[in-house]
């Protein structure tokens, strides 16, 4: 009977597919093909991390070496440094960068005139539309030896050659570019916060700090927590583009992160296998982080994950 029910089920499915074939072919098809070709095929390519890959012999013909490249990377002194650089850059970036949009949104919410508020928002969002390259170009100009910052301080410091300056430069320019844009969603949530509640609090004689605690913070609290967790889950996937554009030969001690190292080793030096192993290591840590984060969000979000 069980088999019969299964048969029936299968039959129903086949009938459904025949009736709704357009859904599979026209709607789902293109996305599925792109996903399989550009996302799943490269996953097979991960095998070269366990081989002494030779482009002429291909994956099938190359010699297997097991975990050699992982051992090589994990035991090299560079490993710890690049891992720490990656972690420090994203964790400090998160800790410094995360509160800014919230503060901006709370401040914007206290501006009575909506005209002024709109003009300020226009300025705050603008840097988001400047490209990474232009942003880093501006940073290089403003901080150059003959640039305005040195002129104002009367010094001749070449900031981009100082390892200790890299992270502050990266993080501050990130806040400059992204804080306004990231504040949009908090601003939208605050605009939806109950006006009656706020007025009631004002009539009760609550001061601004008390109003923020009682009315505004509850309106954005869930969003803040979820955003923080989401961003914390992304600390290993910090982008290549900006770090690479702010690197100089002199500041590599703090600016070489795993993403830039994988690029240099793999594509510039041609160490395909080694570089794939390093990339895989990074991906695995990232997967663990993301799954953990997803579990946390699920718990907070009434069982609804991402």
């Amino acid at each position: 009977m069980n088999a019969k029910a299964k048969d029936n089920n299968l039959h129903n499915t086949l009938v459904y597919i025949r009736q709704h074939w357009q859904l599979y072919v026209f709607f789902l098809g293109p996305a599925l093909i792109l996903t399989i070709v550009f996302k799943y095929l490269p996953m097979g390519g991960i095998l070269i991390a366990f081989q002494k890959y030779n482009p002429f012999k291909g994956i099938l013909g190359s010699e297997w070496v097991g975990l050699k490249y992982f051992q090589q990377f994990l035991s090299s002194p560079d490993f710890l440094q690049y891992l720490m650089n990656t972690l420090k850059l994203s964790i400090f970036g998160l800790l410094w960068g995360f509160p800014m949009p919230i503060i901006l949104a709370l401040l914007l919410n206290r501006i009575a005139s909506s005209k002024i508020k709109q003009k300020i928002q226009l300025v705050l969002y603008m840097p988001n539309f400047i490209s990474v390259i232009v942003l880093c170009g501006m940073v290089r100009i403003l901080l150059s030896v003959t640039g305005p910052l040195n002129m104002m301080m009367g010094t001749n410091i070449n900031f981009l050659t100082i390892p200790a300056a890299f992270r502050p430069i990266y993080i501050i320019s990130g806040i400059w570019q992204g804080a306004g844009w990231a504040s949009i969603m908090y601003t939208a949530a605050l605009a939806n916060a109950s006006k009656e509640l706020k007025e009631a609090a004002q009539i009760d004689g609550a001061n601004i700090w008390q109003q923020i605690k009682a009315v505004e913070w509850p309106a954005i609290k869930d969003m803040v927590v979820i955003q923080f967790i989401l961003q914390a889950g992304n600390i290993m996937s910090i982008g290549f583009e900006k770090a690479y554009a702010l690197q100089s030969d002199m500041n590599l001690a703090s600016s070489e992160i795993i993403a830039t190292y994988v690029y240099k080793k793999g594509l510039l030096n041609g160490d395909y296998s080694y570089s794939t192993a390093v990339g895989l290591f990074n991906t695995i840590i990232n997967v663990i982080l993301l799954i953990t984060v997803n579990k946390i969000v699920e718990k907070m979000n009434d069982g609804q994950g991402l």
């Binding site: 859904l23 599925l32 490269p42 996953m43 300020i120 583009e241 794939t276």
Partner: protein, 304 residues
């Protein structure tokens, strides 16, 4: 609005001293942040008009006789910049169009409760958000497909976005089912329903996704850097990278200068004009799309 304005003003007047200090501190902080954004931009705008030698020795001088349009002339007449602009527009338009179209299509069956296989497909898509082959395997694949130095290597791999598909799916689900049932009565087939009835009520969604994808492609450089070799295929960001980051502008832009020092000064000045010219299109256009941002946030936040 006038009314709320006057009411709020009196509110500020009525506020206690503690609140006033609190508010003033807040306004000053906000003002500082706004100034910190405008400051560097204004500096670069002014500096772009200056004579390079004066700029290097004295900084900004408000003596307009020292101002010049040389940098702009050189940048505007440079063919690399224009090729870069053309390529960036081409790639970004194609990428946004293909990406949004495929994403909107895919989200439709995924939004239907009766769609058989939804769970499996969902898993297939979600896995790619967590796990991937990484840089080298992807590069080798593109290379084996013969796509090196082809614009499709930049456009196709990232064109289907699972994240955007989830957003679109959630958006579809918010559309009243009456619409769907009306279409069933008419006997409309899926494609007709999708294009004639569903898409027309999704304009905010389409606008937001298109904007995101366009800006994303316009501002990126990594894929173009690793996949495109030919000079005539470089998008704007790579041309900018040569000028701004690598200090290697197109030799034609500075070749007529006599000494190395002069060439270096001119190359420095070109940076300012390049920044302004290349950033102008998006920065000027974005306020016109601002009305979509709020709806975009609404679109984006429902998934959370």
């Amino acid at each position: 609005m006038e009314k709320t304005l006057t009411m709020k003003k009196s509110e500020f007047a009525r506020a206690s001293i503690g609140d006033k200090i609190f508010l003033l501190t807040g306004y000053i902080l906000l003002g500082l942040f706004v100034a910190a954004i405008i400051g560097p931009v204004v500096y670069i705008i002014i500096a772009s008009f200056m004579d390079p030698i004066t700029l290097q020795n004295k900084g900004i001088v408000f003596d307009t006789s020292k101002w010049t349009l040389t940098a702009y002339e050189r940048v505007m007449t440079n063919s690399q910049i224009w090729t870069g602009f053309f390529n960036a527009v081409l790639y970004s338009v194609l990428f946004a169009a293909i990406s949004v179209f495929i994403t909107l299509l895919c989200a439709y069956p995924m939004s239907r409760d009766d769609f058989k296989g939804k769970k499996i497909f969902n898993t297939i898509f979600i896995i790619t958000m967590f796990f991937g082959g990484g840089l080298i395997p992807t590069y080798l694949l593109i290379s084996n497909m013969g796509l090196l130095d082809s614009m499709w290597a930049v456009i196709l791999p990232g064109s289907f976005s699972v994240w955007n598909m989830i957003i679109a799916r959630t958006y579809y689900k918010g559309i009243p089912t009456e619409l769907r049932e009306a279409a069933d009565v008419d006997g409309a087939n899926e494609l007709v329903f999708f294009f004639r009835i569903l898409l027309p009520v999704c304009t905010p969604l389409i606008a937001v996704l298109t904007l995101w994808q366009f800006v994303g492609m316009w501002n990126s450089y990594f894929d173009a850097m690793i996949y495109l070799n030919s000079a005539n295929k470089q998008p704007l960001q790579l041309v900018l990278r040569a000028i701004l980051i690598q200090n290697e502008p197109d030799p034609g832009m500075i070749a007529d200068m006599q000494s190395t020092a002069q060439r270096a000064q001119l190359a420095e000045l070109l940076k300012y004009a390049t920044i302004i010219i290349s950033s102008l299109p998006l920065v000027v256009m974005y306020p016109f799309f601002q009305k979509y941002f709020d709806s975009g946030i609404m679109v984006g936040s429902v998934k959370g």
